[in-house]
């Protein structure tokens, strides 16, 4: 895969390396200082290995997006520590947002190049890497379009290219495919898993879909709502490389999905009872 090789060529050492490792200890996030502060995250302990694909699932309001934003440096924790070991990676992390977050005033090519432009990557090298990233997501023909001229799926692919082109040690993805139709979602999930298998980056993937978490990740972190805590961590036993379509139709997949759904169901019920009581 020529495109992937060009992407991974960012001052890379000769030996293949894995992405960033993360150590989260007793992480806590409280919003508001009034009489009723909202505890978004409480007592989060999580160790993410280099090159691991971790999915975080939970009901809405469980703080999973907050956790991702803190990892991305867009928010600050109230307590606890996060240690990220991304030695040798020029860019520690890159986030893919739920809505693509492409700048409407930049053409696709300029959007994809953004993270290289801000970091002063030389023009010739940037052009090469952008071309490779666009090829990887199949948008070379659309590089001179503005985002509003593309479909939602193409915009999301552009956003993924923008993240990949920076060659980050860790990809942070906040329900990146939630707004897509089912066909496009499967195609992009397949692409993402393929790219991950080839590049060995660490991926932290937030989703509200158990199925998606089991399909994509090595581990699934199940969170609870109000306050957001880790309820369960499930090792996903399916080997890589994965064929997502076949996997999603297998009996073992169905059984695991059901197990997790039971765990989550309790949580959803409890959260509902609390908010209504």
């Amino acid at each position: 895969m020529v495109a992937v090789e060009a992407l991974g060529r960012n001052a890379a050492p000769a030996t293949p390396r894995r992405g960033a490792a993360v150590d989260i200890v007793a992480l806590r996030k409280v919003y508001g200082t009034g009489p009723v502060p909202v505890v978004a995250l409480d007592d989060i302990d999580l160790r993410i290995a280099a090159g691991e694909f971790v999915c975080i699932v939970g009901p809405s309001g469980c703080g999973k997006s907050t956790l991702l934003r803190i990892l991305a440096g867009l928010d600050h924790q109230t307590g606890g520590t996060i240690n990220v070991d991304a030695v040798g990676w020029a860019v520690q992390n890159a986030m893919v947002f739920q809505d693509s977050g492409l700048f409407p005033w930049m053409r696709i090519e300029a959007n994809v190049r953004f993270g290289l432009m801000t970091r002063g990557v030389p023009e010739a090298e940037a052009a090469e890497r952008v071309a490779a990233a666009l090829k990887l997501v199949g948008l070379t023909k659309f590089r001179n379009h503005f985002p509003h001229q593309l479909s939602g799926g193409m915009r999301q692919r552009s956003a993924i290219a923008r993240a990949f082109v920076t060659n980050p040690g860790m990809l942070l993805m906040d329900e990146p495919f939630a707004s897509l139709d089912a066909q496009n979602r499967v195609i992009l999930q397949t692409e993402l898993v393929r790219i991950w298998e080839q590049t060995g980056k660490t991926v932290v993937y937030v989703t509200h879909s158990i199925e998606e978490a089991l399909l994509l990740g090595d581990r699934t972190v199940v969170m609870t709502a109000q306050p957001g805590r880790i309820k369960h961590i499930i090792d996903v036993p399916f080997p890589h490389p994965r064929d997502l379509i076949t996997l999603s139709a297998s009996a073992e997949f169905g059984r695991l999905k059901l197990d997790i759904w039971r765990v989550l169901e309790d949580e959803v019920q409890r959260a509902r009872a609390e908010t209504e009581g």
């Binding site: 986030m95 977050g101 993270g115 801000t118 503005f146 001229q149």
Partner: protein, 256 residues
Amino acid sequence: MNELSAKARERLLYLISPIGLLLFWQLLLMLGLGDRRFIPAPTDIAVRFWALVASGELAEHVGVTLYRVFAGFFVGTIPAIVMGLLMAMFKPVRIFFDPLIAALFPIPKIALMPLLLLAFGFGDASKVALVAIAVFFPVIINTYVGAANIDRIYWDVAKNYGASQTVLFTRVVFFGALPMIFAGLRIALAVSFIVLVAAEFVASKNGIGYLIWNSWELLQVDTMFVGIVAVGILGLITSVLMQELERKVIPWKADG
């Protein structure tokens, strides 16, 4: 009803009101209702207009007025855009300038003319300064509102992707605010003609405002109307040019 004839009908309707008004006006005067010495007919104004064009007198006044509008426009809008963006990016800047804007915006800018004559003398500079001050406020307010309302996700993307303050300013906040900046520029353009013509009434020996006021004092009512029509035409042309510029500069909105 096919699309072309519908469009043609719309265009016709667009022209009916002004042409109808002119015809009605002409007809009343031709019927002897009204004194043509005080209220010239459209044809009288047209004749006078042509005479002033032929003598070069109109071009001279138009040139002076346009120079003052454009000079004042640039001097006033560029700092307004920069400061409006800085207000959105940095809270201390906003806190510093907010009360100043609130206090100075409602002052009728023409009331500053005597002060500006003292400061800059009777030449072009005082009129350019007046236009600059008058356009400053609508542009800074629009720029700030436009930049402050940029969707949070764009700030997040900029931060996560390593944007420096300079990149944030020039690549994100400026472009995000651009549609609102243009709304401010359109208002500013109209405001600049309004204050300038008023200033030229009292504080100038040339320009369209002077032409209007001088011909009023000489009771050359047809010349006065020529001046008024000239301001209207200039306003229309510059506003169309501004819209064209906006379409060029904001291509991501053009077919969205």
